[in-house]
């Protein structure tokens, strides 16, 4: 209607159009990017104050982090290598978060998936390619089923996914640790780890001397599939709608039980695949604590929160968080500031991002 009127009467001068467009673009910018930038700036400011309080120069520390993460090819390779499981776990978490399902169990799903893949790879005899495919498939299925269980608890018994998924992490961690230390422990070895998988089952390395493997292509594939499914399929659209407004989605015909179960299964499958990539591409065995210690799942979740569950954003966010961690490790070697400062900076970023609606003046619906 408004455009009709505009056309029949005098069309607005170009300058007005441009101004309108610019205002529109800027208002979007203000709401989306500005709070993120404020959060980043704020967290580095607070982190800097912490470094200053502990008697070091924050600028030098940040320069060392930047240099460590991007300074040379080794740094870049380390950032990407560490970033892969973070991005994968981030996509897995973001997938569920986007549908409003608070899956905090990616850590356990990843771990059980890794174990399942490993067990298949050492107990089944097949041609290497088929065996590797089967093992990765099993990782995804087991990760998916563990996650599906949380979804089922919610749809069947009304037990919140938020709580069941978190508690089930402890079950998975205990079980996998037991399996590594008892039935599967390397015979004759002195460490808490299993025997290595056969050479022909290992994912080839992309850059020799680093642990960057073709796992990279798996993650790239995962991101592309996630984007396509979210943008181009009915399921992807319904998932986003389910997360944005559940009542409305149900009203328009989305089956909440099916949506919850399918989404949790896919989220867990993604987590399981990340576990498989770590086993077949990086460690070549199960090592007690190697998948939980670095906090891949939790850093991935931070990337998802940072990116508001957008796949491309998760890639950027995951690489960014990975760079902070990799850079901090390099910084610790050069300065006296402990690597753990990266955990504080990351957490403050997430905290400030959590308050972004507040900072930007946009009030969301009452969630408390």
């Amino acid at each position: 209607m408004a455009t009709d009127l505009d056309n029949t009467h005098s069309a607005p001068p170009k300058s007005v159009k441009v101004t309108r467009w610019l205002l529109l673009a800027l208002s979007g910018w203000r709401e989306k990017i500005a709070p993120l930038l404020i959060a980043l700036f704020g967290s580095f400011l607070i982190g800097g104050i912490l470094i200053l309080l502990s008697g070091d120069n924050p600028l030098e520390a940040y320069a060392a982090i930047l240099k460590g993460a991007f300074g040379d090819s080794f740094g870049i390779a380390s950032t990407i290598t560490r970033g892969l499981p973070i991005i994968g776990a981030g996509i897995a978490t973001g997938w569920a978060f986007r549908a409003g399902l608070i899956n905090l169990g990616v850590e356990g799903q990843l771990l059980l998936g890794a174990l399942a893949g490993y067990v298949v790879s050492v107990s089944v005899s097949l041609s290497p390619f088929l065996l590797l495919s089967l093992a990765i498939l099993m990782s995804m299925v087991v990760g998916g089923l563990w996650s599906l269980l949380c979804g089922w608890f919610e749809t069947k018994f009304d037990v919140p996914i938020l709580i069941s998924s978190l508690l089930m992490n402890f079950l998975a961690i205990g079980f996998v640790s037991y399996m590594i230390n008892f039935p599967l422990i390397e015979v004759g070895g002195s460490r808490s780890q299993t025997a290595m998988i056969a050479d022909n089952l290992r994912l080839p390395r992309l850059v020799s001397g680093t642990s960057l493997s073709v796992g990279l292509y798996f993650i790239i594939g995962l991101v592309i599939i996630a984007i396509i499914v979210l943008r181009r399929t009915a399921y992807g659209f319904e998932l986003t709608m389910f997360g944005a407004n559940r009542e409305f989605a149900i009203y328009t015909g989305v089956n909440p039980v099916r949506m919850t179960l399918v989404t949790m299964f896919i989220s867990g499958m993604m987590a399981g695949m990340v576990g498989a990539i770590m086993v077949f591409g990086v460690h070549f065995r199960m090592i007690d604590g190697a998948l939980t210690g670095p906090g891949y799942a939790w850093t991935g979740m931070m990337a998802a929160i940072l990116a508001n569950n957008n796949p491309v954003g998760i890639v950027v966010g995951g690489l960014f968080l990975s760079a902070i961690q990799t850079g901090s490790a390099a910084m610790e070697r050069a300065h006296s500031i402990p690597f753990e400062i990266s955990f504080v900076v990351q957490a403050i970023i997430i905290l400030l991002v959590a308050g972004r609606e507040g900072f930007s003046g946009v009030r969301r619906r009452d969630t408390i």
């Binding site: 912490l50 502990s54 608070i102 905090l104 608890f153 018994f157 009304d158 037990v159 938020l162 709580i163 069941s164 978190l166 508690l167 089930m168 402890f170 079950l171 205990g174 079980f175 640790s177 037991y178 230390n181 008892f182 939790w298 979740m301 931070m302 929160i305 402990p338 690597f339 753990e340 400062i341 955990f343 504080v344 990351q346 957490a347 403050i348 997430i350 905290l351 991002v353 959590a354 308050g355 972004r356 609606e357 507040g358 900072f359 009030r363 969301r364 009452d366 969630t367 408390i368």
Partner: protein
């Protein structure tokens, strides 16, 4: 299997969960979904050990833990109440913040990774209750705990009185039932919510102190180990009522005591460690099943 020492350790082990759950209960009553109990506890545990190490006083440790818990909880309040952040995202962020900050400080202050143990850390003394300790069996079960454990029992009653016999409790319950109506009647909803969060922070801080100074005398990275989440479940299980929450905490304390016992006997610790979480999950599922049955009976 079930003997006096198992029940004694049950009563010792429930204290952190009970204290945190009482805090969670107050938040629940004013409709603030607090999942940062875990992180608040962790901050308390670290503060207690650090303060006890430097002052040589466990009392100072507990007090400092309470203060830090209070501040931490109020910070959550700023995000959830003032900035209207999503309570779940803010809670997760606070938990990650607590984990990151305590790990960093452990490294920065004490130069340690993983854990910090030192003879200079003064733990909480075990106290004998004068008359009860003389009673056979009961004395062995109930007596010989730190004062924080006894305080947690007293707090169940105190919180019951505050909630149901005091004006502030009436206002809290009013906010919980209908915050808009409470606001109309002149209750300062925001202030009530901050007060509940402040109490909750103090309780979680002390819970952390009991964890690091009462049960052991050391700090371990992420030593809260999901107890804050178990406390969240205890609030649900106990229907946000002090007595119900106490009963639920008793169950989880018992599960933890059993897990410790089995560790020494037949099970590898990796499996025994999972028992409390398994029991918590099972209890939650059973609760929801009975609740839905009851609802369907009412509906029919």
């Amino acid at each position: 299997m079930i003997d006096v020492s198992l029940l004694n350790s049950t009563f010792r082990l429930i204290a952190p969960i009970l204290l945190a759950a009482l805090g969670g209960l107050l938040c629940e009553r004013v409709l603030v979904f607090n999942i940062a109990l875990e992180g608040t506890m962790l901050m308390g545990a670290f503060t207690a050990v650090a303060t006890s190490f430097y002052t040589g006083s466990s009392m100072a440790g507990v007090l400092a833990a309470a203060v830090v818990g209070l501040l931490f909880s109020l910070l959550l309040g700023v995000f959830v109440i003032r900035l209207r952040s999503d309570a779940i995202v803010a809670g997760i962020a606070m938990n990650l913040f607590a984990a990151g900050l305590t790990t960093f400080l452990l490294r920065r202050i004490f130069g340690r990774r993983g854990y910090f143990k030192d003879p200079a850390i003064v733990g909480l003394e075990k106290l004998e209750i004068p008359i009860i300790s003389k009673i056979p069996y009961l004395g062995d079960i109930l007596s010989g705990h730190s004062w924080v454990v006894y305080a947690s029992w007293v707090l169940v009653i105190v919180i019951w009185i505050i909630l149901f016999k005091q004006v502030i409790g009436l206002r809290m319950r009013g906010v919980g039932q209908n915050d808009f109506a409470a606001e109309t009647l002149g209750v300062n909803v925001i202030r009530i919510r901050y007060i509940a969060l402040a109490f909750s922070g103090v309780l979680c801080g002390i819970a952390g102190a009991q964890l690091s100074l009462g049960q052991v005398t050391l700090f371990v990275e992420n030593m809260s180990a999901g107890r804050g989440w178990i406390a969240v479940v205890a609030v649900m299980l106990g229907r946000a009522h002090p007595v119900g929450v106490f009963a639920a905490s008793l169950l989880f304390g018992f599960a933890e005591a059993v897990s410790f016992r089995l560790q020494g006997m037949m099970l590898p610790h990796q499996i025994a460690d999972t028992i409390p979480y398994l029991i918590t999950l099972a209890a939650l599922i059973v609760l929801q099943i009975t609740r839905s049955r009851r609802n369907s009976v009412i509906a029919n």
